[in-house]
């Protein structure tokens, strides 16, 4: 189908872009975001903090947080180049993460396999609404019945945007030599983010705006079972 073809090519583009900028990008992503730290702290206080997932793991800075509290952690990313930066970080900092190259819209993870997940600053790179929605349903599928996840995306509430509706754009990444590389983003309107989560198989627990990003705490949902 032509539509599927197009979508596959666009997701390939996202992969190629991050393969290209991986090393420089990762070097600028040293610290975990505070919103993610507080989510991981509260989510791993619960009994079932068995398997953690960093979805769109990049250099694994959030996998590192999960590794402190989970029995095991999976780091998944579309870009092999970024995964290599995650492998380097895990070796240097001596934490365990199982790395997997995969697509957020068609996860290679079993139903109910994950107890705690962070899906941070990744959803907005999926180039179609269908792919973004599919990825939320996939997250619902892999979360265990008591599992929790944090989902974040860039939003129109950020100072650099003056739009009130969600829109597609590209944001330049400048490599050390000055070469610009365009990256696809879908900038979410906050109410659009909330609606996409409500329409998905995830159960929306709470959400907030922080530093121009939408953050949602979600649970897996019974609707995703028994199909």
């Amino acid at each position: 189908m032509a539509g599927d073809q197009e979508r596959a090519h666009s997701r390939d583009d996202v992969r190629d872009t991050y393969d290209r900028i991986a090393t420089h990008f990762a070097s600028t992503r040293e610290y975990a975001w505070p919103e993610v730290e507080s989510f991981v702290t509260s989510a791993t206080d619960r009994e079932s903090s068995g398997v953690g997932l960093d979805l769109g793991c990049g250099n694994c800075r959030h996998a590192e947080l999960l590794a402190a509290d989970c029995e095991s952690v999976v780091g998944l990313d579309v870009s092999r180049g970024l995964i290599e930066t995650g492998r380097t970080r895990a070796l240097e900092r001596e934490f365990d993460v199982e790395l997997v190259q995969g697509d957020a819209a068609s996860l290679p993870l079993a139903d109910d396999a994950i107890d705690v997940a962070v899906y941070v600053a990744t959803l907005h790179h999926l180039p179609t609404r269908a792919a973004r929605r599919a990825s939320l349903d996939e997250l619902a599928r892999v979360l265990s019945p008591d599992g929790r996840a944090l989902v974040s995306a860039w939003s129109t509430a950020h100072d650099r945007f003056d739009a009130t509706e969600g829109f597609d754009t590209t944001v330049e990444w400048t490599l050390p030599g000055g070469e610009p590389v365009d990256r696809f983003y879908h900038i979410y309107a906050p109410d659009e983010f909330e609606a996409d989560l409500e329409d998905s198989n995830l159960e929306l627990r709470e959400w907030e705006l922080s530093s121009g990003n939408c953050y949602a705490t979600v649970a897996g949902d019974d609707r995703s079972r028994g199909r």
């Binding site: 599927d4 992969r15 999976v74 190259q101 068609s106 993870l109 079993a110």
Partner: protein, 64 residues
């Protein structure tokens, strides 16, 4: 990858179990081989210890 990871991995297309084929080991780590779907037969390569479980239409055509 550790072989125990197979417990939670599945085929990205049909979500069926994967089987390890032609595995190469370095100690406990599986560093090479394929993960083969028990249902559709699609083979996913383990490249330098990291399984490439991208759907086949997103898999890189490796230029040497």
């Amino acid at each position: 990858m550790k072989e125990s990871l197979l417990d939670i991995l599945c085929c990205p297309l049909d979500k069926h179990d994967l089987e390890l084929a032609d595995a190469e080991y370095d100690g406990e780590e599986v560093v090479g081989g394929d993960l083969v779907c028990t249902e559709c037969g699609e083979a996913y390569p383990i490249e330098d210890g990291i399984p490439n479980l991208l759907p086949p239409d997103m898999r890189e055509e490796t230029p040497a």
